[in-house]
């Protein structure tokens, strides 16, 4: 900033620190809760410092599950979440890449139609067509399957538009040079387009992985079997309406476990994440 004031910078720092504290507090509290005994939590006397039951709680959460009911251990849920997020991210990227490639690099009847058909899906989020889509999946016998969890979410106008936009920036001369160098459409795709799209693919993967991991409504409808549920769904079922039965330390440990993979992805691949976020909003 322009002014050189001595204490001028203190206030912003202070505000930022308060902001970070507020943003981080719920997560901190969840972590604290996951290290205490359930009785301390239940009687409302939980201290704001970590307790000594970290290993015990997380061991039970990951490998055993909540007691009393026939819930799955969280490791199964984590695995399901991981499969779902990965398949959605990879699948979306793959089909968007090739469809954008077709739309940009070929001229064929119904090209515009195909493009608009994909484009309009932007306006049909799963929330507005919940039950008919559920019915399709159920008619296809895909309930409680990974295919049912992922394939309906794989078509994405956003990713296709993003790749289309990126392809438009690849100079025409590269295609022409490739043609003269004897590369056809498939070889050009693998030798030039794919390597050039690496950063775009990576940043999109980060965004889509988080998108897939955090899906709620869809897995809630599609999974009926406990061993098929994702962690985001599983946690909801751990909260029992009558408070006394809810094992909060396990719920909170599950929340932490549900956050760790996507948060790590965001923090560790911050550059790609920011790029992906900004690009996919264009």
């Amino acid at each position: 900033m322009v002014e050189q004031r001595r204490f001028g910078n203190l206030v912003p720092h202070l505000i930022l620190c308060i902001g970070i504290a507020i943003v981080a507090f719920p997560v901190y509290l969840a972590f604290i809760a996951s290290t205490h005994e359930p009785t301390i939590i239940a009687n409302g006397q939980m201290p704001l410092t970590p307790g000594g039951h970290f290993l015990e709680t997380y061991y039970r959460t990951i490998f055993v599950g909540t007691s009393g009911t026939t819930r799955e251990p969280v490791s199964t849920m984590l695995f399901n979440s991981f499969v779902m997020a990965s398949v959605i991210a990879v699948g979306k990227i793959a089909i968007s890449l090739i469809s954008a490639y077709a739309v940009v690099y070929f001229s064929f009847p119904f090209r515009k139609t195909a493009f608009w058909m994909i484009f309009i899906t932007l306006m049909l989020p799963v929330e507005v067509r919940i039950y008919p889509t559920y019915k399709v999946v159920s008619d296809l016998g895909l309930l409680d399957t990974y295919a049912g969890l992922t394939i309906p979410l794989i078509a994405s106008a956003t990713a296709t538009l993003l790749f289309r936009q990126f392809f438009m920036t690849i100079p025409d001369e590269l295609v022409e040079a490739s043609k003269i160098d004897g590369a056809g459409p498939i070889r050009f795709f693998f030798d030039t387009v794919l390597p050039l799209s690496r950063t775009t693919i990576a940043s999109l993967f980060v965004i889509l992985f988080i998108y897939g991991w955090n899906q709620y409504l869809w897995p809630l409808l599609i999974t009926t079997r406990d061993d098929m549920q994702t962690i985001v769904i599983g946690i909801k079922k751990m909260i029992v309406t009558s408070d006394a039965l809810t094992e909060w330390q396990i719920v909170m440990a599950t929340a932490i476990l549900a956050m760790v993979p996507p948060v790590l992805v965001v923090v560790l691949m911050q550059k790609l994440f920011v790029k992906g976020l900004v690009d996919s909003e264009k």
Binding site: V2, P12, E127, V136, K236, D243, A255
Partner: protein, 293 residues
């Protein structure tokens, strides 16, 4: 906008489009058209016969007082979430933009909640607001508030808004910060030379230059509050108490789950579709302007 250099090939482009088009047709167009079709049908009580009833389902929907109540709830919820998360994010971004050093550290510390699922955010906040054992609930009791979101609709709404806004701050912060950093330093320096103090400078120079970002975020936040907060609401209140936190999307979800009124549920979906189309149109008008600039 077309490429000059393209490939020949007759079947290849269709083959490349096939997976996307297939998924789109089966899981987007077919269900969406089913929703539209069903919204014109009425099923009898036993599900044995269906009649084509034109707009009866819509007339029925819009003649129900509780549908308007849901609309009002949605509006209140969306406005609160949008205003809260945008203003907090703008404040933090303005502060972070002032830092020559540490800017990226603050960014890292503030953006991670983006990665938290709405449903998980709901769980975190309900734990704090749980009447009997929540930290914040105890605090509120301490200052004399009879906190009970399980019975009090306003309490429940406050809680849901907080959780939903909390998750969205990071996204807004990121875009506000990027918008602020895109403002040329020379413009701000010129304003400083013209004698504008920092606060005045913010409202007369920076904020107007930031308005495209703000408008874009406004639309994104409304979309978020409308559609993506279902997980927050479902984990925290399930729309209750007494439908006090039931938004339009949540209503489609919960009405449809009962499976009683297929036509009515479909009509609700169609109304939502129209809202999405309107919001998308607004968003794209903005994008177009940004492209042509």
């Amino acid at each position: 906008m077309d490429k000059r250099a393209i490939f020949g090939g007759r079947l290849l482009p269709y083959a490349l489009l096939l997976p996307q088009v297939l998924v789109t047709l089966v899981f987007f167009y077919w269900p969406a058209s089913q929703a539209v079709w069903q919204s014109f049908l009425l099923q009898d009580a036993f599900g044995l016969a269906t009649d084509f009833v034109w707009f009866d389902n819509y007339v029925d929907l819009f003649s129900r007082a509780d549908y308007y109540r849901t609309m009002a709830t949605t509006l209140a919820f969306s406005t609160a979430v949008t205003v809260a998360s945008l203003s907090i994010a703008l404040l933090l971004a303005a502060m972070a933009d002032r830092q020559l050093r540490g800017g990226t550290v603050y960014r890292t510390l503030l953006i991670w909640p983006y990665a938290v699922a709405p449903a998980i955010a709901g769980v975190l906040w309900i734990f704090m607001f749980q009447p009997s054992l929540g930290v914040l609930a105890r605090g509120l009791r301490g200052i004399g508030v009879d906190w009970n979101p399980l019975l009090n609709g306003t309490h429940a709404m406050t809680m849901v808004v907080l959780a939903a806004a909390w998750k969205q701050i990071s996204y807004n912060f990121l875009f506000f910060l990027a918008g602020l950093q895109a403002i040329p330093k020379s413009v701000i320096e010129a304003a400083a030379i013209d004698g504008a103090r920092p606060f005045r400078r913010f409202w007369t120079i920076i904020f107007p230059l930031l308005s495209p970002t703000a408008f874009f975020l406004l639309v994104v936040n409304i979309v978020y509050a409308f559609f993506e907060t279902l997980g927050v609401i479902d984990t925290m209140t399930s729309g209750g108490p007494g439908k006090a936190t039931e938004t339009l999307v949540y209503r489609v979800f919960s009405d449809g789950r009962l499976g009683a009124d297929l036509g009515g549920s479909a009509a609700q979906s169609v109304v939502l579709m129209i809202i999405v189309i309107a919001l998308t149109a607004v968003q794209f008008r903005y994008v177009e302007r940004k492209v042509t600039y």
